[in-house]
């Protein structure tokens, strides 16, 4: 929790608040935020304890993995990336998807969305933290992390796509932290945010959101030796699926907020998101079909991974169940999103969200990262299924991300409901 406050503090320091007494108000804001973040009902305590417990299990599994080596994962020289990088890819999409609230709010001036857009930004912050952690746990030598820091280390920029990804992901994190931090602090002070301090960043964040998932796709599709990834459709597919999983995740978060607090709003913002999901999901499925047609109809060697993924080959069929369940979930979710019930506040909508999130998580992970390695570049079929260590660490990362998100959302909600406000500054407006 103190980490969050610290991050907010780091964000605001260079801002040079145009008020007298910012040095007085700001620490008070942080102190009160800490109070809000750590105070709540028994349900809240139970939830936070559960998340902390899972995060601890993950942290311990990671520490053991660092000590004993990545032999504790089920990765091999044939399948050299696994669950961690799969989850990384999905989380980047989740972060990029948050932009689908920003666009209606700022490009189409949707007034109500304006009030809720901060939720999407909070999701983006948590998702970026999760994707960064997913990469860190995938490193064989996390102690040499400093080699990745530009100038101090030896950054292979602009050649290596991974360096681009590091830049865009960290940039996106900073932009979103700034926007969230600034808007919250201004609301806390009871002042109208000065557009100069956040609108340019909002527009930057729109471009940046596209860049994070595009560059992440370039990580894969830039590799000529992996025909399954080496397709120009990869980045557009990543974006389309992100614009489903992101809004779907936000819809769930919005539901939780409405159920657990007094913060209410009209059904309109959610409907806007559902319209976006409908279009994005159809485009996503269309591109998937186009990809599969090219692979299977041509029937060339390029289809080897797709054959293994969808039907199994050379006696291996480890991913067949995964991909078909993903396809079924994606189709079922899409159909549900198109029913009128999805526009109502109800369980159908939540089910549709969950189906699409799970479907895309598999499609982007087990269905995309793993088959890139099977068969290997020399056509050997070595299968992969995550080990217990990998599941524990991944669960820990999710628990940590949701923990951060819970705290952010509580702060946002408290500020919005004026439970967290600066009593001195209130009448200044």
């Amino acid at each position: 929790m103190s980490a969050i406050s610290k991050v907010l503090a780091d964000e605001e320091k260079p801002q040079q608040m145009p008020t007298r007494g910012a040095f007085y108000f700001y620490p008070r804001f942080l102190w009160k935020s800490l109070g809000v973040a750590t105070d709540g009902s028994w349900l809240f305590y139970g939830w936070m304890t559960l998340l902390t417990g899972i995060a601890l299990v993950g942290a311990n599994a990671w520490a053991v993995q660092v000590r004993d080596g990545m032999i504790l994962t089920n990765m091999s020289d044939h399948v050299s990336w696994g669950l961690y990088i799969a989850n990384f890819t999905f989380c980047v999409g989740l972060a990029a998807g948050g932009v689908m609230m920003v666009i209606p709010a700022y490009l189409y001036d949707d007034e109500e969305m304006h009030h809720l857009v901060i939720i999407g930004e909070a999701v983006a912050v948590a998702a970026i933290l999760m994707s960064t952690l997913s990469v860190v746990v995938d490193l064989g030598r996390p102690d040499r992390f400093w080699h990745l820091i530009p100038i101090i280390g030896k950054f292979n920029w602009p050649m290596s796509m991974l360096t681009w990804d590091i830049i865009v992901l960290n940039g996106y994190l900073l932009i979103n932290l700034h926007i969230v931090g600034y808007l919250l602090y201004m609301q806390y002070l009871g002042r109208r945010p000065d557009p100069v301090w956040y609108v340019p960043f909002v527009f930057l964040s729109i471009l940046w959101a596209f860049s994070i998932h595009t560059v992440t796709a370039f990580l894969y599709c830039g590799l000529g030796g992996r025909p399954f990834w080496n397709t120009a459709l990869l980045a557009p597919r990543f974006l389309a699926s992100a614009f489903v999983s992101g809004p779907a995740f936000i819809l769930i978060v919005m539901r939780v907020i409405r159920l657990t607090s007094d913060w209410q709003w009209s059904p309109r913002p959610a409907r806007t998101l559902i319209q976006i999901i409908r279009i994005a999901m159809v485009i996503n499925l269309l591109m998937l079909v186009s990809e599969l047609f090219t692979l299977f109809y041509t029937g060339s060697g390029h289809a080897a991974s797709a054959r293994y993924l969808f039907f199994g080959s050379h006696g291996g069929a480890g991913l067949v169940v995964w991909i078909w369940s993903a396809i079924l979930m994606n189709i079922a979710g899409t159909v549900l999103f198109f029913t009128p019930a999805a526009l109502q506040r109800g369980n159908i909508r939540m089910l549709a969200c969950l189906l699409c999130i799970a479907g895309i998580w598999i499609e982007k992970g087990m269905g995309l990262v793993i088959p890139g390695f099977i068969p290997s570049t020399l056509h050997e079929v070595v299968e992969y299924a995550p080990s217990l260590t990998e599941w524990k660490i991944t669960a820990g990362i999710w628990a940590f991300g949701i923990l951060v998100l819970t705290i952010l959302i509580r702060l946002i909600e408290a500020v919005h409901m004026k439970r967290l406000a600066n009593p001195v500054d209130h009448h200044m407006n």
Binding site: T52, L56, V57, A59, N60, A63, V64, V66, R67, D68, G69, M70, I71, T73, M75, S76, D77, H78, S80, W81, V135, D138, L139, G140, R141, P142, D143, R144, F145, H147, L148, G153, K154, F155, N156, M159, S160, M161, L162, T163, I166, L219, L223, G224, G225, R226, G301, A304, G372, F373, P375, S376, T377, L378, H379, E380
Partner: protein
């Protein structure tokens, strides 16, 4: 209480960090080291090896020779698939003996085409089998190496004589190079290599066959600790049929030059434009 829980969960990290020295943590990239810094590092690594295995090793650092561009060629007509090359690689390069790792994988291929999809690298029967030919694959030392481009921290690069090397003390183990390599030439140290003291090869190169740390990448270096000093790679010396040809392709008198000029050679996955320095050919 919260802090105590985190400390306990992360306890294994302190056990691991016990093996790391501050010098190693702060060590600069190989190409930024001054000669005296290099010497200090080599002596430190030798001492660490003495401590860990009780073996006196010599870590050298032979530099690329002027006017040398190494190339390798392999005669597929006479390779019998005995895997002596792969075994010699394991011994020479101080590979992990739990897995008997090797930089060379030998594929048993079906006559009538060069189709890896019909190949098998896990055969366990007498060789050569009728209707089959054998295709050893190792690092192709590409002139246009995708692994070098991929590496985010320049931990792997191409030397002047064409050999692609890894600084094992700089690599962070992200394995992007392993994903980028079209030839399955790279290996990762999934755990600390196990190697009995009596089989350790004491003649070690800093950029080649020294015992690798846990969590970093490694690859074939054309045995640079041998070849830069005028010897042949271990895999070539071990080959009982003389299928392997190695040398400086800039030397007009060399056998490798003769093969490249006179045989109908081919390289693997030419369409990827990686420009391998590893040529395959058949006798007429």
């Amino acid at each position: 209480m919260g802090l105590a829980a985190w400390a306990t969960a992360l306890q294994p990290l302190t056990e691991w960090a016990g093996d790391l020295s501050v010098d190693e943590f702060l060590q600069k990239h190989y190409r930024e080291l001054k000669p005296e810094e290099k010497q200090a590092i080599f002596r430190r690594l030798e001492a660490e090896c003495r401590e860990a295995h009780g073996v006196n090793v010599k870590i050298s650092d032979p530099q690329p020779n002027e006017g040398v561009q190494f190339a390798y060629a392999l005669n597929l007509s006479i390779c019998i698939g005995c895997r002596k090359c792969a075994e010699a690689c394991t011994i020479e390069n101080n590979h992990d003996r739990k897995t008997n790792n090797s930089y060379i994988r030998v594929f048993e291929m079906e006559m009538g085409g060069i189709d890896f999809e019909k190949g098998d690298a896990t055969y366990e029967h007498p060789v050569p089998q009728p209707g089959k030919f054998y295709m050893p694959v190792q690092c192709q030392q590409c002139e246009n190496a995708p692994c070098v481009t991929a590496c985010p921290i320049q931990a792997t690069w191409q030397e002047k004589d064409g050999i692609v090397v890894v600084d094992y003390n700089w690599c962070i183990g992200c394995r992007y190079c392993e994903a980028a390599c079209p030839y399955h030439a790279r290996r990762f140290n999934w755990e600390k290599p196990t190697i009995p003291a009596e089989v350790i090869n004491p003649d070690q190169g800093y950029l080649s066959n020294r015992i690798r740390p846990q969590g970093v990448m490694e690859k074939c270096t054309f045995c640079l600790h041998r070849t830069r000093e005028g010897r042949m790679p271990a895999c070539l010396e071990a080959c009982p049929t003389g299928a392997r040809v190695f040398g400086n392709m800039l030397d007009p008198q060399s056998e490798i030059r003769w093969v490249i000029e006179n045989k109908r050679t081919f390289v693997l996955k030419e369409e990827l434009n990686t420009k391998p320095r590893f040529y395959y050919f058949f006798d007429e």
